[in-house]
């Protein structure tokens, strides 16, 4: 198979994972106005939950869903127990998420050790699939399909349901949303748990590709930051486009300039910051 085609499919797969990670990050940023610095840790936590569940004999997909639910519960708890106490003090909230990310990373290191854990690709999705006369690795196609389905579901939820309308109202004008009777603080918990769950889910299904290791959180958090700075906060389309840009740059950059791939990744972010600080699809200045 053609090297560039392989790179392209890898890029789209990474973009799918990044979308799962950054959609939640972006919604939390849009609604609660804080960059959630635990987001990378939530992904890592989900990945480790998944590893343990699979180790106990739970099937891969069941483990992914359970891990997502576990991380969502944890996220909801963090929002209720810690962030809620600091309502209105955004900077303090960011610092709490930062402190929490160090604690999660250290607990993961303590419980699961420092060695990278390889996650086996689920049996049904091994091997390759013939598509348009070319063989593609099946598991990557599955990830792309899942990302597309979740993106569509998120869009439908935000655009077509009552809950989505309330969230959009909260993003646009929290004070007005409160005034018309929407319990914005409830939305905070829901959105935080949803974002955490998506990140945890991405951690498990990304396991076979990224593997699970200490430092996964620090590797993924900047990618989510770049996606959101690129796409603009609170915008689903922005996350999607940002994820694609970062996914492609990361894989192609690593193939062409291995030593500077990480820096190339940030170039579009710098350009966007200079030209359009609110992000490509952002409405208000961050």
């Amino acid at each position: 198979m053609n090297l560039w085609l392989v790179l392209a499919i890898n890029s789209i797969t990474l973009a799918g994972l990044l979308f799962l990670l950054s959609a939640g990050f972006s919604l939390i940023f849009g609604l609660m106005r804080i960059p959630n610095l635990t987001h990378g840790s939530l992904l890592m936590l989900g990945a480790y939950f998944g590893v343990s569940l699979i180790g106990w004999g739970v099937g891969f997909w069941a483990a992914a869903v359970c891990a997502a639910l576990g991380v969502a519960l944890f996220g909801g708890f963090v929002e209720r127990a810690l962030l809620r106490r600091l309502a209105g003090a955004e900077l303090a909230q960011v610092l709490v998420t930062l402190g929490l990310s160090f604690m999660i990373a250290d607990v993961c290191l303590m419980l699961w050790g420092g060695d990278p854990v390889a996650v086996d690709t689920p049996a049904a999705a091994r091997g390759s699939t013939l598509l348009f006369g070319t063989a593609f690795p099946t598991y990557r196609l599955v990830i792309i399909a899942i990302a597309v389905v979740i993106a569509a579901a998120l869009w439908a939820m935000l655009d077509r349901t009552r809950l989505g309308a309330m969230i959009r109202a909260g993003v646009d004008d929290p004070a007005m949303a409160r005034a018309v009777g929407i319990r914005v603080s409830h939305l905070f918990t829901i959105v935080f748990a949803l974002g955490a769950g998506l990140a945890g889910f991405a951690g498990v299904i990304g396991g076979p590709i990224l593997s699970v290791y200490p430092g996964l959180d620090q590797d993924m958090l900047p990618l989510a930051l770049v996606v959101v700075i690129l796409g603009g906060s609170g915008s689903l389309v922005g996350s999607l486009v940002g994820s694609f840009v970062v996914g492609f740059l990361y894989n192609f950059g690593q193939a062409v300039f291995p030593e500077l791939a990480y820096v190339i990744l940030f170039l579009p972010m710098l350009i966007v910051l200079v030209v359009r600080p609110r992000g490509l699809f952002g409405r208000a200045a961050p």
Binding site: E90, V94, L95, L98, G99, F102, Y262, L265, A285
Partner: protein, 328 residues
């Protein structure tokens, strides 16, 4: 009273290697002073400009890496210092131009991302930075022929730089520039209306902050004779931010007290447990939730409150003095 206290503190600090008499503790004192310089530098941006940076370890690290590369290229002390400061100020200027596109949380996010870029360069640009293994220098340079090899000698060298840092901060805080910087923090619109160039004031403050961070980074390199990507990581930026916040932002003493606190806890904690990051995170969360104004202002507030309470009780008991209106 204040002057006497200050003089006593200075004499005690200057004579520290004598009354401590132990190379290990003298070295810890040197570490505290190095981090105090770093925290004072960060405090210019965080405290006086009201812009929270989570990327300052990058400036600290750039200075150390530049210094290490120059030392290993066989350059003399003067070239190392000038080159390292020059590189750091240039990087700080780039940081400032980009990060000042946002304020508030936008500024935080951009500094995180910029810090991670520098970390990525330190980690992956193996031909210059030697990747995860870091860069070592064989010996501490000896400026003006003075050997810095022993713990007391190095401590005194750091102490002199520390005094310069504190002195420059005191001058800066009292200067019209310091006042205008505080103005841009509290009332940016009003400052603009008054004809001040808010962007330029913030930019210059960032450069000043970057300069002292770089000085601390270079001292750190001299102290450890080693620099690795760990010193550039987000954890390192968070650590120094914790020093500033725990001590109390926008005070002179706060960052120094915070640096002492964090370095001591770090050394004590690492003697008993290896979970320093957990402790760091927990202190962070606890301070933000319970003592958001920092330890020094928090203690001062508590002290004044206690004093006022005692005084009013004394007055009530004897019931002789007329109630005095004294705002704490």
């Amino acid at each position: 009273m204040r002057r006497t206290a200050l003089a006593i503190a200075l004499v005690l600090l200057a004579a520290l290697p004598f009354w401590v008499g132990n190379a290990y503790y003298t070295n810890i004192a040197a570490q505290i002073l190095i981090y105090a310089i770093f925290a004072l530098g960060l405090n210019v941006v965080v405290g006086y400009a009201g812009l929270v940076s989570l990327g300052h370890a990058a400036l600290f690290g750039v200075a150390a890496y530049a210094g290490a590369v120059l030392v290993n290229a066989g350059q003399g002390h003067l070239v190392v210092v000038l080159g390292s400061c020059g590189v750091t100020i240039s990087v700080a200027a780039i940081f400032a131009v980009l990060a000042l596109r946002g304020t508030g949380l936008g500024f935080v996010m951009i500094t995180v991302a910029l810090g991670q870029i520098v970390w990525g360069v330190a980690y992956r640009w193996i031909s210059v930075t030697n990747g995860d293994n870091g860069v070592s220098i064989t010996a501490r340079p000896s400026p003006f022929g003075l050997s810095l090899a022993t713990a007391p000698a190095f401590y005194w060298a750091v102490f002199v730089v520390f005094l310069a840092a504190v002195g420059s901060m005191a001058v800066f805080v009292g200067s019209p520039f310091g006042a205008s910087l505080r103005g841009t923090r509290d009332q940016p619109r009003r400052m603009t209306a008054l004809g001040y160039n808010v962007w330029l004031i913030r930019f210059l403050a960032f450069l000043l902050s970057g300069f002292w961070s770089g000085v601390a980074g270079l001292l750190y390199l001299y102290y450890n004779q080693f620099i690795s990507p760990q010193a550039v990581a987000l954890t390192a930026s968070a650590e120094v931010l914790l020093m500033v916040i725990s001590g109390g932002t926008a005070t002179l003493l706060g960052p120094i007290a915070g640096a002492a606190l964090v370095v001591i806890i770090k050394n004590v904690a690492s003697a008993y447990i290896e979970r320093w990051n957990f402790v760091l995170g927990a202190i962070f969360v606890a301070i933000v939730i319970f003592m958001p104004e920092g330890l020094v202002p928090g203690t001062v507030r508590l002290w004044r409150w206690t004093a006022a309470e005692l005084r009013s009780r004394g007055a009530a008991r004897t019931a002789e003095a007329a109630p005095r209106e004294r705002t704490p």
